[in-house]
């Protein structure tokens, strides 16, 4: 594909023929729009992009794009995406999923993906509930959320993904809102262009099991301060904000992790595919 052709790609070029089965009103529709808008802006042809997910409503997203996709095992989007990016650094790799998939079942992978800082973009569509399985509380559900499933609420302190990501070493941290697809798309573009592991936490209302989240549209607001490259300052800010600040919150300068055999294009020992010994060497120096 020539540069001239690439400039003419539109968001529609990144949408598949499959139609989303999300509930009308779901924030994930807008996020899908934002992803395809961002792809068009980046102008990498669909065959050079891979969208990797786990399980859940939002994890259906690879099927709705025209890029390569992998709808993986619950909570395992990040290890799949990490493996793909390490073996094919030429691809643009995006991991996507929800708060339950990413922060509970995949919580340990989330920590180590931040720590490894492979050049990935991780999109978490956070609706603070397990929607696909009919409304159980997730790691980010407020403790007082009362429902038939958890009468009186869980009473548990919610997980704070942005602070965890900062502490674990993520190189780019942002919060967005599904109701702002243009703003979300711009953040995604910045995240994709930034080297290393980028987390974009996108508030995405579940209108079926958390109808009160429709009110988020009135609560979100742009962050009052510019992004920072100071990890401690960013952590202080996100710990003390109201949870509805949107924008890029942290932009670091850690060099992405990339094993020498992949970066150099040379084949690892034993043939064209990376062998266990090579990964052992890279991950356990």
């Amino acid at each position: 594909m020539t540069a001239e052709t690439a400039r003419r790609l539109t968001a529609r070029d990144y949408k598949s023929a499959l139609k989303p089965v999300w509930c009308p009103g779901c924030g994930d529709f807008s996020i899908l729009s934002a992803i395809t808008m961002a792809m068009a802006e980046i102008a990498r042809p669909p065959e050079e992009v891979a969208v990797i997910s786990g399980i859940g409503c939002s994890s259906r997203v690879p099927a709705y794009t025209n890029c390569y996709g992998f709808h993986g095992v619950h909570g395992r989007a990040l290890p799949l995406a990490t493996g793909l990016k390490l073996s094919r650094p030429d691809l643009l790799v995006i991991a996507a999923g929800g708060d339950g998939d990413g922060y509970s079942i995949g919580g340990n992978h989330f920590l180590h993906a931040c720590r490894r800082n492979v050049d990935l973009t991780y999109i978490v569509m956070d609706n603070q509930v397990y929607g696909m399985t009919k409304g159980q509380p997730s790691p980010t559900t407020p403790p007082e959320w009362d429902s038939a499933m958890v009468p009186g609420g869980t009473g548990l302190r919610p997980f704070h993904p942005l602070v965890i990501a900062l502490a674990a070493g993520a190189n780019f941290v942002a919060r967005a809102f599904s109701g702002d697809p243009s703003g979300t798309a711009q953040i995604l573009v910045d995240a994709i262009r930034h080297p290393g592991f980028s987390l974009i936490e996108i508030l995405s209302p579940c209108v079926t099991f958390r109808p009160e989240e429709r009110e988020w549209a009135k609560q979100v607001h742009p962050a009052a301060v510019e992004e920072t490259g100071d990890r401690a300052q960013a952590a202080r800010r996100v710990l003390t904000d109201d949870g509805f600040n949107t924008g890029i919150l942290y932009c670091g300068d850690r060099a992405p992790y990339q094993p020498a055999f992949a970066a150099s294009g040379m084949e690892p020992a034993g043939g064209g595919a990376a062998g266990n010994a090579d990964f052992d060497m890279e991950f356990r120096p």
């Binding site: 400039r7 529609r12 139609k19 989303p20 089965v21 509930c23 009308p24 009103g25 779901c26 924030g27 529709f29 807008s30 729009s33 808008m37 961002a38 802006e41 009919k134 409304g135 429902s147 038939a148 499933m149 809102f177 599904s178 109701g179 702002d180 697809p181 243009s182 703003g183 798309a185 711009q186 953040i187 573009v189 209302p205 209108v207 079926t208 099991f209 429709r214 549209a217 009135k218 979100v220 607001h221 742009p222 962050a223 949107t246 924008g247």
Partner: protein
């Protein structure tokens, strides 16, 4: 449009656009119609999937109208010619003015409600062009924006007439005998 302003993206809104040039205004005008068409098409698909065929049909019709309008803009004014990066668009709100936010949808929505959303979208577009026309940098842009505002005013009138053909929903319009939250 519901909700507060979006994240900071430089100068925004019709007044900022009024201070630019004819090509930038045309690029915004084309994006308004094209994004509205695509959004109506997506909303129609959602409603078909839910078995709400009457509302799906309305949205499909609106998608056709907006797509035709986008094509006219492209043909008559070359409105699709200027390449624009995401960051170059200067929308005042969270999205371009004529799209219905996905979050406003409900699977049991009735035609009157669907057309109420469409009417609000047309009115946002009308206000947008009126504001550009009122502050345009030159006579050419003022004339163009006023022409677009007149078209949107006509759309507002037509959608209002269309809406009045349908009854307002009963208070229990969203009652579902088999709701998803049945635990």
């Amino acid at each position: 449009m519901s909700g507060p302003e979006g994240p900071k993206r430089g100068d925004q809104g019709p007044l900022a656009i009024a201070a630019t040039d004819r090509e930038t205004l045309l690029a915004h005008a084309y994006a308004i119609e094209q994004e509205a068409a695509e959004r109506y098409e997506a909303l129609a698909e959602q409603m078909y999937d839910c078995g709400n065929e009457e509302v799906a049909g309305l949205f499909a019709k609106l998608a056709e109208i907006e797509a035709k309008h986008a094509a006219e803009l492209s043909l008559e004014h070359g409105a699709a010619n200027k390449p624009m990066a995401l960051a170059d668009f200067m929308w005042e709100g969270l999205q371009s003015p004529e799209v219905i936010p996905f979050e406003e949808m409900h699977y049991l929505m009735q035609p009157h409600q669907a057309l109420t959303l469409a009417l609000a979208a047309e009115r946002r577009a009308l206000l947008f062009y009126e504001a550009v026309a009122g502050q345009a940098a030159n006579e050419d842009m003022r004339t163009l924006a006023a022409e677009f505002a007149a078209e949107e005013a006509e759309h507002v009138r037509l959608v209002l007439e269309w809406q009045q053909r349908y009854p307002e929903p009963e208070p229990d319009w969203d009652d579902d005998m088999d709701p998803p939250m049945s635990l």
